[in-house]
Symmetry: C2
Subunit: 415 residues, 2 copies
C-alpha cells in the first residue's frame, strides 16, 4: 500500500482521556479511533492487523474440523429465559433494546443459548455427533468501566467455538484437541512463550475450566506461573489444594504475576442442552442430553496484549504473523527522481512477489518518516536513499532489535 | 467439505411463520436460521455464500483504491445530534440502548456521521484528498415489519463506501468510477443482466441519486425500465419530466416492473462535512468543506435476490461466483467399497486442485441425496455410482439447465 493513499495520520500525543497504553499507541499510530470508552473503530491498519489475527485463529479452527457460521447480535429473550440468563442479576452486562412493538430484545453478550437452540433443528441422532461450530462475531457487554483500551471493550469481536458431543469421554477428547489448537494459535501469534495454560474455576460438569493467560503488566488477572512447565493457576483457585493435584504443579515453585486472559476453554456439560432440550437418540434408542463445550478468544484483546507486551519507547512492534505489512519501505527520495524511481520499482517488485509492503512514498523529511515507521511497528524497514541507488545496497532494519543489515535488491526479493 | 461433517440438515417444509420465498428456501436448505422476524443466523453454507458475495465486492472496492476499515455498532449521540439525525422523527428505525450510567446510545443504522467525525483527525489539507474508505459492518434497523426474509432485515451486513473529495468535480469523477465498479460487481455476482442503473430522488447537492435495481417479483420497489439501455427510473421520480432529460430515456418506451434495490450511490455533498466541521485547507490557504459521497450494497439482500430470481421448483440455483461450493460430488456407494474409494479419491483430487467441492459421503438413498442436492443448489453435480467406476465415465449435471454431460475423471480435473 502506498502510504500517500492511506488517509490515516500519526499523532505525537494520544487523546488526554485515553488511559490505556495499548489504545494510546494504537490511536497515535492511526490504527484505531475511540468512539467512546470501550468502543473502538478499527481504521485500515488496525483492521488489517485484526484480520491477520482472525485468519490465524480461523485456520486452526478449520484444522479442528469446526465449521464457521455467523449468528446474530439481536437476541430473542425466549431462549435466554430458558437458561435463566435473561435476568440482569445473572448477566449484569446486558445491553437491552426494544422493537417498535415495545417488546424487549437483547444484544448478544455470548451465544451459548442461541446456538444450542439452532442445533435443535440439526442434531437428532448419535450419528450427528460430535460436531462443532465457530464464529467471529461482535459481542456487546455493558461494562461499568472500560479503561483497558481494546483489551476490554463494550463492543468487541470474539471468536467463539462450541462443541457438541455424545458424552463426557467424547467431549474430553475434543477439549484436549482444542487446548492444543489454542497453544498453536498463541505460538503463531508471537506470544506463545508468555502465554500459560491456566487452571481456573469450572462449573457443574468440570471442576476446572482453563484459561490462556499472557503475562503482561496491563492484565487484569493475577496468576501463579510455573515458567518451566508453561502452566499456571488462577488466583481464584489458588487456595484449593486439589488444583495442584489436577495440574501437577508444586505450589512452592510458582511465581505470582499479572496476566491478561487471551482465551478460555470451558466444559459446559449438559447445562444448556438440558435447559433448551437439545437431545439426541443413542444407538440404543434412548434420548440423551448433548454434552457441550465452549472455547473463546478475543482477537482484539490479543491485539491489545501484543501492543502492551512488545511495544517500546518508540512505538509498536508487531510480530510478523500479525503485522499489517511485513515491510515498511521508506523512500528518502526528496526531489531525486532516480531514488523515487528505484523505490517505486522495488515496491512493485515486492508486491508482485506477494511480500506485503507499506511504501512510504510521501514527501516528508527522513526524521518524520522514521518516527512514523517506528510508531507503526512493521517488522522490517527497508530504507532507500541516494546511497542505495549508488551502491545497490539497501538498509534492512529489524524493528524489534534495531539491527541493521546491508542487503541487495535480489537478496531482499529472495528472502 | 464432507457432508457427513456438516451438521446442518435440509428439511421438506419451511417454518409456517416464514412468508418470504428466499428465507423459506434458505431455511429448508440449511443455509440460515430465523432468530426472529428480520433477524437471521448464517449457518455454514449460508456464511460461505455471503462471504463469496463479500469477497467480490471487496475486490472491486480495492480496485477503486478505497481502504477497508471497521467502525463500531454502538453510537455516541453527540455526532448524530450535530447532523440532526439522532431524533427518532428523522431516523425512525433507531434501536437505542443505555450505558450503566443511564446515558442513551444508539445502534448504527448507517455510518455517515461517525466516519465524518473520524476523518476530522486525518484530513487537513487538499493533499489528503481525494480518499475513500469502506467496510462490511452490521447495521441495525428497527423496521416496523420485516417480511422479506434476508432481503430486508432488522440486522444485516452492509458494505458502505464513503468518498471524500475537494469539490464536486473531483467527486463526480469518483462517483462515475464507483458506478462502473457497481456494474462490474453485479455482473460478477450473476445478476448483471437483470440489474438496472436507476434514477432516484437525490438531495441538496444532486438532483438524483442512483440505485441498482434488480428486476424481481419479490422486490419492494416499482421502477420503469429501458431493457435495451439497462437504465431505469424509480417510481418516486417518474413524474418529474427532468429525469428523462438527465437519463436520456424516452418515457414511452419504458416498462413498469417490480424490483429489489441491491445497491445505491449518493452524492452527499457538504451535508455532513458542514454539520460536523470536516474541512480542509485549499492550495490557496482557505478553509473548505469536504465534498462527500456514499455508496451502499447489502450482501444479504443480494443473496436473497439471487435466491428469488434464480431458484426453481426443486430449490436454489447458485451462480458459480456465489455458490458455497462449485461442485456437489454425490456418491452412490451404498455398501460398495470400490465406489466409495473411487469417490473419496475424486474428492481428494478435486480439493487438491483447488476446486471447492461439497462431498455427499452420507449413507442415504440416491433419491434423498439428489433432492438435497437440488435444494442446496451447487452449480455442478458429479454423480459417482457403480457405472462410473466400471466405465470411467462420470455424470456431470448442470443445476440450472438439468443438462447431463458424460465426462472422465481427467477431463473433470482439467475443467
Amino acid at each position: 500500500m502506498r502510504q500517500s493513499t492511506l488517509f490515516t495520520k500519526t499523532r505525537r500525543e494520544a487523546p488526554s482521556d485515553e488511559v490505556s497504553r495499548n489504545a494510546q499507541l494504537l490511536i497515535r499510530a492511526g490504527f484505531v479511533h475511540k468512539e467512546m470508552a470501550g468502543v473502538y473503530d478499527y481504521l485500515p491498519l488496525g483492521h488489517r492487523t485484526l484480520q491477520k489475527i482472525i485468519q490465524v485463529i480461523r485456520e486452526e479452527m478449520n484444522e479442528l474440523g469446526a465449521h464457521e457460521l455467523f449468528l446474530t447480535a439481536l437476541q430473542d429473550p425466549m431462549v435466554w429465559q430458558k437458561s435463566g440468563r435473561w435476568s440482569d442479576d445473572v448477566i449484569d452486562v446486558w445491553f437491552k433494546t426494544k422493537l417498535q412493538n415495545e417488546s424487549e430484545i437483547g444484544l448478544a453478550t455470548t451465544h451459548e443459548e442461541p446456538l444450542t437452540n439452532v442445533m435443535r433443528d440439526h442434531i437428532n441422532s448419535y450419528k450427528d455427533l460430535p460436531c462443532s461450530a465457530y464464529q467471529f462475531q461482535t459481542k456487546f457487554r455493558n461494562e461499568l468501566r472500560a479503561k483497558s483500551g481494546i483489551m476490554r471493550g463494550r463492543e468487541f469481536v470474539m471468536k467463539d467455538l462450541y462443541s457438541f458431543c455424545k458424552d463426557k469421554e467424547e467431549h474430553d477428547a475434543f477439549y484436549a484437541k482444542a487446548a492444543e489448537a489454542y497453544k498453536t494459535i498463541f505460538v503463531r501469534l508471537g506470544i506463545g512463550d508468555k502465554t500459560y495454560f491456566t487452571y481456573a474455576s469450572g462449573g457443574s460438569f468440570s471442576k476446572y475450566s482453563h484459561e490462556f493467560q499472557t503475562v503482561c503488566d496491563a492484565g487484569e488477572d493475577t496468576i501463579y506461573i510455573d515458567e518451566a512447565k508453561g502452566i499456571a493457576v488462577n488466583e481464584e483457585v489458588y487456595n484449593d489444594p486439589e488444583v495442584f493435584v489436577a495440574s501437577g504443579l508444586d505450589k512452592e515453585s510458582l511465581v505470582q504475576v499479572k496476566a491478561a486472559e487471551v482465551g478460555n476453554i470451558f466444559t459446559l456439560g449438559e447445562k444448556f442442552s438440558d435447559a433448551l432440550s437439545l437431545t439426541y437418540t443413542t444407538a440404543e434408542g434412548n434420548s440423551q442430553n448433548v454434552f457441550m463445550g465452549s472455547y473463546g478468544i478475543g482477537p482484539g484483546r490479543v491485539m491489545g496484549t501484543i501492543v502492551e507486551l512488545l511495544s517500546d519507547e518508540k512505538g509498536i512492534v508487531w510480530p510478523e504473523s500479525v503485522a499489517p505489512f511485513r515491510y515498511h519501505l521508506v523512500s528518502l527520495a526528496g526531489n531525486d527522481s532516480a531514488v523515487s524511481e528505484y523505490a517505486d520499482s522495488l515496491y512493485e517488485a515486492l508486491t508482485k512477489a506477494g511480500q506485503e509492503t507499506l511504501y512510504d512514498d510521501r514527501d516528508l523529511r527522513a526524521g518524520e518518516k522514521f518516527a512514523d515507521s517506528d510508531l507503526m511497528g512493521m517488522p522490517w524497514r527497508i530504507v532507500v536513499g541516494k546511497n542505495a541507488v549508488a551502491s545497490g545496497e539497501l538498509e534492512l532494519v529489524n524493528r524489534a532489535t534495531g539491527e541493521v543489515t546491508k542487503i541487495t535488491r535480489e537478496e531482499l526479493l529472495a528472502r
